[in-house]
Symmetry: C2
Subunit: 300 residues, 2 copies
């Protein structure tokens, strides 16, 4: 009927474990210190002490707190399963949208999403509020939310935004010092490209992973909290769409390999302008592919 007491339960077990490290009859530290040990407020600590005294583990009279007997396994209190995988909600949500091709303008029910993702409703509300900042969802006047994404307009603007960020990243790479880790990464990635090109006929499916590694490496040079959030969403969307658009996959991947190599060539020559041009060509291709994949799914 109200908030859970998981915090108390976890703190209690932690304090109990701490008691095990003490000798019998030892003085127990002050409430404030115990609070620091368990990472909770004094309010919670006092609840813990109450229970410890009740079970006869300690004697508690004001400042006089002493260990009466060693804690036993049955003194521990049950903690109700962390369960909810709130952590990777974003990943799972985008995965769901893209995997099931949830069409634009679909009404999103918090109650339903809460069930399918096994996450409390209020967390979902917060999550959706966050996504609305990216223009992926929007509040409906009649209540609830609406999925906006993955129209043609969305794809175009997403691609454009990606281009802006990635061209900047490429410029940054070109100016990175020789001892920057990106150079080693790019060298390895170049080799892998060359190798894949040699076995293209059989292994062309492998390109998707390589593509992600390449863009990841380039973008890793930019250290900016504003871009990092976007890159996560962007790379997910492009990644999935490439995986599903199977038309001419081999030719497309072969072309992309050459484009990647052109970018790496220019970067290693420290020719920023050439690198930008090569990157621009590559990103234009990506945009076209994304758009045609949308057309295929009849979402244009």
């Amino acid at each position: 009927m109200a908030r859970s007491d998981t915090r108390y339960r976890e703190a209690y077990n932690r304090i109990l474990a701490y008691c095990e490290t003490l000798p019998l009859d030892a003085q127990i530290p002050s409430e404030t210190q115990l609070g620091d040990i368990a990472g909770v407020s004094r309010t919670v600590i006092r609840r813990c002490l109450s229970r410890l005294a009740e079970l006869g583990v300690i004697v508690w009279n004001g400042r006089d707190k002493r260990l009466l007997r060693m804690p036993r396994p049955e003194d521990r209190i049950a903690v109700p399963e962390a369960g909810s995988h709130s952590a990777d909600l974003e990943q799972r949500f985008l995965d769901w949208v893209l995997r099931f091709d949830v069409p634009a303008n679909t009404a999103l029910s918090v109650a339903e999403l809460s069930r399918t993702f096994d996450v409390p409703q209020h967390e979902l509300k917060e999550f959706l509020a966050g996504l609305s900042r990216f223009g992926l969802v929007q509040r409906r006047p009649e209540g609830g939310w609406r999925l906006l994404g993955f129209t043609k307009g969305f794809a175009i603007e997403l691609s454009d935004f990606r281009t802006i960020l990635e061209l900047h990243a490429v410029s940054q790479v070109a100016e990175a010092p020789v001892d920057h880790p990106v150079w080693a990464q790019l060298a390895k990635i170049r080799d892998d490209h060359v190798q894949l090109r040699a076995h293209m006929d059989s292994d062309f499916h492998e390109f998707s992973k390589l593509d992600e590694r390449f863009h990841q490496a380039v973008n890793s040079v930019v250290r900016n909290r504003f871009t990092v959030e976007f890159q996560k969403v962007i790379s997910l969307i492009f990644h999935y769409h490439y995986m599903w658009d199977k038309t001419e996959e081999k030719d497309r991947n072969a072309a992309a390999i050459e484009e990647h190599l052109a970018i790496i060539d220019a970067l290693e020559a420290r020719d920023a302008a050439a690198a930008r041009n090569a990157a621009q060509r590559h990103l234009r291709t990506s945009k076209t592919t994304l758009l045609s994949s949308l057309r295929q799914h009849d979402l244009g």
Copy 2:
């Protein structure tokens, strides 16, 4: 104790007004049609019809709904004041943060904010969840939120991000067709710059507004949902910091006028490269100013 019935109350008054347009004894449209008129579901419409029947305005027996008498002013129902200014919450929140120099790592209490901004708590939670996507706030492990912004690191990354977006915008302007409205705007803005320069000694405070107009015009060329959100936040933060950092304001503004004019010159000459260079110079100055203003407020 539960959600408000404002929706019903507004719908009721709207239906009442609709009844006034009907002749006496006229048939009233179907529930579905009334729902379309008032923009609500049939559930709400049936509540409205119940009340109308109770007051004797209509007679309602299944499908037979007729107007018994003309509605009177006292038939209307009170609507409980829209009140909450949820609309400009973002503006007011950032204004508050910047005006009172709320230091980084301040704990934000939803209850308190809810009072000071006169907005329901759950709306504030959603709002903060949105801001967390921009890295402005963060959840605290012990509950609630923490203001992150306005450290040196934040200012640097914000400036860098602004630079990325704005350099792109400048490139776009340079390629805009001659009949694009931006050219007329820029011409006017150039005149205003020249005029202000002539009366700089007395009117230098006017520059702040001019600065906002200039950047607004340049960015207006880019139509992208992802950049629009950011620009709002960015321009607010820069705007306020400029207003408050009074050191050498006149000199700073005079220099900025020249920098703006240089950008406009290059743009009107359709020299994209020169425009980008000029913009880069200007944005570097801005970044320095923002950082020194932070140092002044001891937030570094």
